[in-house]
């Protein structure tokens, strides 16, 4: 035995002896311990998605307690989310779904594989993976890039190659079901029990009806409901009491009844008075709603052509049924996108601000709670646990 090898062996013996002694002393800590989260999250928890714009293959979704007062207490765990991923979750199955993209040669490409990665709530461990057509929309995070059926069984994934289609995934059977062409139309808004509609470039809605297995059975298209060039609806809506509310670039709201299997258009209304039309919705996700028929719109005072992504300094609160403004919340920091979670006295508003930090407010009054300590490059989507 060489001297160096002998020295290593002796060192190992010393270490083993030390460990044995420590155990004997009863002070040794257990090794290999992995933390667990509750299978059902508190209503106010949030999943903050860092799309990692500058390192797109390294995106992540952090599970956060937004009311904890320190960064270590806020940060509960993390899911990886590759290449501008989309996200959904099932309350009934207590699972997360990350719809993501991998390439065989990583940062330089190679064969592309798109998957739905399934994580359990408690362990944040991969439970399964469903390969889907390598066509999913790759772009800025939009909440309607994917959708879940009312029973949480079917996942719909918008594809853009640039041909447009929607992949249907059976989350219970853990299988890809079918791909539905949606020519001229994009995104998915689940409606009724087994249908979804897409937003079309001519301002209409194209509805696809599925059977109980997720196979397409029929489709229909509405008349033109909005002008996609002059005053388009954002790729985001808030739903409350069976109605989806789509804000438009110029500041109107297009209500669409989504309770049935076919969409029913309501009468559009303005967020602003005629004298305040320079105030417009703006941001990546400029609207959220609650179950009580209240809508929250991120607004900017200097709206004009090309400012629809600028975010804004205020959130306007509306009674969605009466179309009446209830309050104007002045944000502590200018916001770029909205998220929400919780209920009752723990109903929270999350605002990703222009410094790429997430501010938390308590609703409905808009009381500022804190800026989260979570470090993220580009946290451009916030998903509520509730």
């Amino acid at each position: 035995m060489k001297p160096s090898t002998m020295a290593s062996a002796l060192l190992m013996l010393v270490l083993v002896a030390s460990i044995t002694t420590a155990h004997a002393d009863g002070i040794a800590e257990p090794m290999g311990v992995i933390q667990q989260l509750p299978a059902t999250y508190p209503d106010h928890w949030m999943m903050i998605q860092d799309v990692s714009f500058f390192h797109m293959s390294e995106g992540e979704i952090v599970v956060v307690d937004p009311l904890a007062t320190t960064q270590p207490a806020q940060y509960k765990g993390m899911l990886t989310a590759s290449f501008m991923a989309a996200y959904q979750r099932s309350h009934s199955r207590r699972e997360h779904y990350v719809i993501e993209t991998f390439t065989a040669r990583g940062t330089r490409g190679g064969e592309r594989t798109d998957v739905v990665t399934i994580y359990d709530n408690a362990g944040l461990k991969v439970q399964d993976e469903i390969v889907i057509p390598a066509k999913r929309l790759n772009g800025m995070p939009k909440p309607i890039a994917t959708g879940l059926s009312a029973d949480e069984r079917l996942l719909m994934v918008y594809n853009f190659t640039p041909a447009q289609s929607v992949s249907i995934v059976d989350l219970e059977a853990r299988t890809f079901v079918d791909e539905v062409p949606t020519p001229g139309c994009g995104f998915v808004v689940p409606i009724g029990e087994r249908s979804f509609f897409s937003l079309c470039s001519n301002g209409s809605l194209r509805t696809t009806h599925l059977d109980h297995t997720g196979k397409p059975v029929s489709s229909e298209q509405t008349d033109k409901l909005f002008d996609a060039d002059v005053d388009p609806v954002f790729e985001a809506y808030g739903a409350s009491r069976g109605v989806a509310y789509f804000p438009t670039f110029q500041g109107r709201v297009l209500p669409v009844d989504i309770a049935g299997e076919s969409p029913v258009q309501g009468e559009p209304w303005w967020l602003t008075e005629a004298s305040e039309r320079s105030w417009r919705p703006a941001g990546i996700r400029p609207v959220i709603t609650d179950a009580d028929g209240v809508g929250y719109f991120l607004m900017q005072p200097d709206g004009a052509e090309g400012t629809h992504k600028d975010g804004g300094p205020e959130v306007w609160v509306f009674d969605l049924k009466k179309h009446q403004r209830m309050a104007r919340l002045v944000l502590k920091n200018r916001g770029l996108t909205l998220g929400t979670s919780g209920g009752g006295k723990s109903r929270l508003l999350a605002v990703t601000n222009t410094e790429m930090k997430v501010d938390i407010y308590r609703l409905p009054a808009g009381e500022f709670v804190q800026t989260l300590g979570i470090e993220a490059e580009t946290p451009l989507a916030v998903h509520g646990a509730n």
Partner: protein
């Protein structure tokens, strides 16, 4: 985030400090790209048909035009509807890709006013693909930008689609011709 590294917004844009969100968007809003093959769409009166075909047809070269300005600045006139890392800062130029990348054959287009001659030009924002994001000179301007369900006018999409690699590196801004006058 280091805005000096990630955002190159000089001149006019920088003076609009009130609109910091633009620079934010500049640093954060996706990158952009473009629209759909041949994406001329009703309502876009300034957009000619089949912009991609025009972009790839040498006979459509615009020849010499007055083209002043700093192509590494987000304020440069051609970038009126861009969203991405400027190839001029990434080893390429305003109309060429960095070494070792591959240019996307499909793009979206903008219609930008050239302050030198007061004319509007059709700009094709072809992406360069096959290497990870350049990370320098991220620029986001949204004149004429529309949602992704109107892809011919949306800069929120990754258009490394017709390429062998889906990985986005940077964006060019190539003049394809004069815009048609608005009717």
């Amino acid at each position: 985030m280091n805005s000096d590294r990630h955002s190159h917004t000089g001149g006019v844009v920088d003076r609009l400090t009130e609109r910091f969100s633009r620079s934010v968007a500049s640093r954060t809003s996706r990158r952009g790209l473009l629209g759909w093959l041949g994406g001329a769409v009703a309502g876009g009166a300034l957009f000619p048909l089949l912009p991609v075909a025009r972009a790839t047809d040498p006979s459509q070269a615009t020849g010499s035009i007055a083209d002043g300005g700093d192509s590494t600045s987000c304020d440069y006139w051609r970038y009126c509807a861009i969203d991405g890392f400027l190839c001029s800062c990434c080893g390429g130029t305003v109309n060429s890709c960095p070494p070792g990348t591959e240019q996307s054959p499909v793009t979206w287009i903008g219609s930008c006013l050239n302050p030198e001659d007061g004319k509007k030009y059709i700009i094709s924002y072809n992406d360069c693909c096959g290497k990870s994001g350049c990370g320098s000179c991220l620029c986001n301007r949204n004149e004429g930008d529309r949602p992704m369900y109107l892809p011919s006018k949306s800069n929120d999409l990754n258009w490394c689609l017709g390429t062998s690699s889906a990985i986005y590196n940077c964006s060019t801004a190539i003049i394809t011709g004069l815009a048609l006058p608005e009717s």
